[in-house]
C-alpha cells in the first residue's frame, strides 16, 4: 500500500515576541512518509519536538517551512498551506488526532464528547451515540460515567474518553500522542488492540509511545526525530 502521509522538509520554530523576539527552533528538515497499514513510532530524547511534530502535522501549530501532505478525498492536501476550511475538512474525514489530554467542555456528557466527531461527519445522532457507547464499553469506562461531563473524571478515565473520541471514526490517518500514558495494564492492552486493529484495516498511524513494551507491540517502523536536526 502506498503513502498517505508525506512530510517534506518540515520546519517548525517559535518566535516569542514578548520575550524580546526570542527564537526557538524545534524542527528542521524533517522528511519521511507513512504508508497505509503502517504504524510509525517517533523516537528521540525528551524535548526534541515529537509532540510539536504531531501538532504541526495536524495544523494545530503553523509550520515554519516545508510541507505536510495528507491523502484526502483522492488528492494531496498540504496541511501547512491549506486554508482553514480545507484543514477542517481533512480533520473531519481523514486525519484523526489523540492528544495527551482531553479538553473538557462544560456540561457535555462523555457519551456526547465521543459521538461528536460522528455527528459532525453527518452520522445520525442515534447511531452516533450507539457507536460511541460501544467504544466506551470496549475501553472499560463504567457505564454510570457515560452521562456525566468528564471534568471530574480521573486522568485515566479522561484519557479513555479521549481515545474513544479518536477511534470512534475509522480515520485513514491517525496521530497518537502518548495514548496509553495514564492507563493501567488492562486498559493499555485494550488500547493496543484498538490501534492494531486500526492499522490492520489500513490506517496509517504516526505515534509517540514512551512505554517500550507498547512500542514493541505496535511499531512496524520507527523514525528518530533527532536524525533530522539541522546543523546549528
Amino acid at each position: 500500500m502506498g503513502a498517505v502521509l508525506r512530510i517534506e522538509g518540515l520546519a517548525k520554530g517559535f518566535t516569542l515576541h514578548n520575550q524580546g523576539g526570542l527564537r526557538l527552533p524545534v524542527l528542521a528538515g524533517v522528511q519521511f512518509a507513512v504508508d497505509a497499514g503502517e504504524c510509525v513510532v517517533i523516537t528521540g530524547a525528551s524535548g526534541c519536538g515529537k509532540s510539536s511534530l504531531l501538532r504541526t502535522v495536524y495544523a494545530n501549530y503553523a509550520a515554519s517551512g516545508g510541507r505536510v501532505l495528507v491523502r484526502h478525498d483522492g488528492a494531496w492536501v498540504d496541511m501547512a498551506a491549506a486554508p482553514p476550511r480545507m484543514v477542517m475538512a481533512v480533520r473531519r474525514a481523514t486525519l484523526g488526532y489523540v492528544s495527551q489530554f482531553l479538553r473538557v467542555i462544560p456540561r457535555v456528557p462523555a457519551l456526547d464528547v465521543v459521538a461528536e466527531p460522528l455527528i459532525a461527519d453527518g452520522v445520525p445522532a442515534g447511531e452516533a451515540r450507539d457507536r460511541a457507547a460501544a467504544m466506551l464499553a470496549r475501553l472499560n469506562l463504567p457505564q454510570r460515567l457515560w452521562s456525566l461531563p468528564p471534568a471530574t473524571f480521573s486522568g485515566g478515565e479522561q484519557q479513555r474518553v479521549n481515545i474513544a473520541r479518536g477511534f470512534v471514526r475509522a480515520y485513514p490517518v491517525l496521530l497518537l500522542d502518548e495514548p496509553t500514558a495514564s492507563l493501567d495494564a488492562e486498559n493499555r492492552a485494550a488500547v493496543v488492540r484498538l490501534i492494531d486493529e486500526a492499522r490492520e484495516r489500513g490506517a496509517a498511524i504516526l505515534g509517540i509511545f514512551h512505554d517500550a513494551e507498547v512500542r514493541a507491540q505496535l511499531a512496524t517502523r520507527s523514525v528518530n526525530l533527532e536524525t533530522f536536526r539541522a546543523p546549528a
Binding site: H17, Y61, A62, A75, M86, V87, R107
Partner: protein, 261 residues
C-alpha cells in the same frame, strides 16, 4: 479539492471612523454557510463596531458587505433600499445583543417575543401555530413552558438571553450576529448558554459571527478567528491554531494573559 462553494457573506475593505479615530480599517473576510467565525480583541479594538457595520445596524464610511444566499448573485447589503435591508435583518439574519434588553421587547410576554418575529418575518397569522412554535422554541432553549405568558422582565438574566436566542433562531436565519452573548452572565449560567449555543448552531446549520473578548468562549464556539487590534485584523486562522500557536505579538500577548484555573 472540494467544489468551490461560494461564501454566504463577503466583507470587503470595511472602514468606519468616529471623528479622527478609526474604529475599523480595511477589514475583509468571508463567511461560509454553517460556519462560526469568532472576532476577538480587547475593548476598543473595534470588534463591536465591525459587527454593527456588517450586520447593517451602523452605516460604515466605506467598503462592501456582499450577501449571497444559496449561491445567488451577491448583493451589497449596504447599498440595499432601507425597507429591503430591514426585512433581511428580521428574517434571514439575526442579532443577539450582549444585553438581552436591547434585543427583546420587555413589555410583551416571552411567547410574544418569539412569535412576533414569525409574524413579522415569515408572515405567520395563525395564532395556534405561532403559539405552538413559540412553546417549541422555549423548550429548545430550556425555558420552562409555563413561563410563556410572563414578560421577560420577570426572567433571570440567563433566561432572558436564552429567550433572545430563541427569538432570533425561530425564523431559521442563515446568519446570526452575536455581540458578547455570554458577557453579562454568571460563569455557571455562561457554561449552560455556551453548550446550548453550540448545539443549536450545529442543529440549525446557521452561520455565526460572534464577537467576544473571552478566548475560552471563542475556543468553544468558533471554527475560525479574527484577532482585532486598533481597528485592524492582525491575525486570522483556524481557532485552535491561533490560540495554541499565535504568530502576531498582540495575539501572543492576549493568549499569554489568560489566567489559568
Amino acid at each position: 479539492m472540494p467544489a468551490p462553494d461560494p461564501p454566504l457573506l463577503q466583507v470587503r475593505n470595511l472602514a468606519k471612523a468616529y471623528g479622527a479615530i478609526a474604529a475599523c480599517r480595511g477589514i475583509s473576510f468571508d463567511l461560509w454557510p454553517g460556519e462560526v467565525l469568532g472576532v476577538v480583541g480587547e475593548s476598543g479594538s473595534g470588534k463591536t463596531t465591525l459587527l454593527a457595520c456588517v450586520s447593517g445596524q451602523l452605516p460604515p464610511d466605506g467598503g462592501q458587505v456582499l450577501y449571497a444566499p444559496d449561491g445567488a448573485a451577491p448583493v451589497d447589503v449596504l447599498a440595499m433600499p432601507e425597507p429591503d435591508r430591514r426585512r433581511l435583518l428580521r428574517s434571514e439574519w439575526g442579532f443577539v445583543h450582549q444585553n438581552p434588553r436591547d434585543g427583546l421587547r420587555m413589555g410583551v410576554s416571552g411567547g410574544a417575543n418569539v412569535g412576533e418575529r414569525l409574524m413579522a418575518a415569515a408572515g405567520w397569522r395563525h395564532y395556534g401555530r405561532i403559539r405552538a412554535a413559540a412553546l417549541d422554541w422555549m423548550a429548545r432553549v430550556e425555558i420552562d413552558r409555563t413561563r410563556i405568558d410572563d414578560p421577560p422582565a420577570t426572567y433571570s438574566g440567563g433566561m432572558q438571553q436564552r429567550l433572545q436566542i430563541a427569538r432570533n433562531l425561530v425564523t431559521h436565519p442563515r446568519i446570526v450576529f452575536m455581540d458578547e452573548p455570554t458577557g453579562g452572565l454568571d460563569v455557571s449560567v455562561q457554561a449552560r448558554l455556551l453548550d446550548l449555543l453550540r448545539a443549536l448552531v450545529r442543529a440549525e446549520g446557521v452561520a455565526v459571527v460572534v464577537v467576544t473578548h473571552d478566548l475560552a468562549v471563542a475556543r468553544l464556539l468558533a471554527d475560525r478567528l479574527l484577532v482585532m487590534r486598533d481597528g485592524v485584523v492582525v491575525e486570522s486562522g483556524l481557532t485552535d491554531q491561533v490560540l495554541d500557536d499565535p504568530q502576531h505579538p498582540y495575539t501572543q500577548l492576549l493568549v499569554s494573559s489568560v489566567l489559568q484555573v
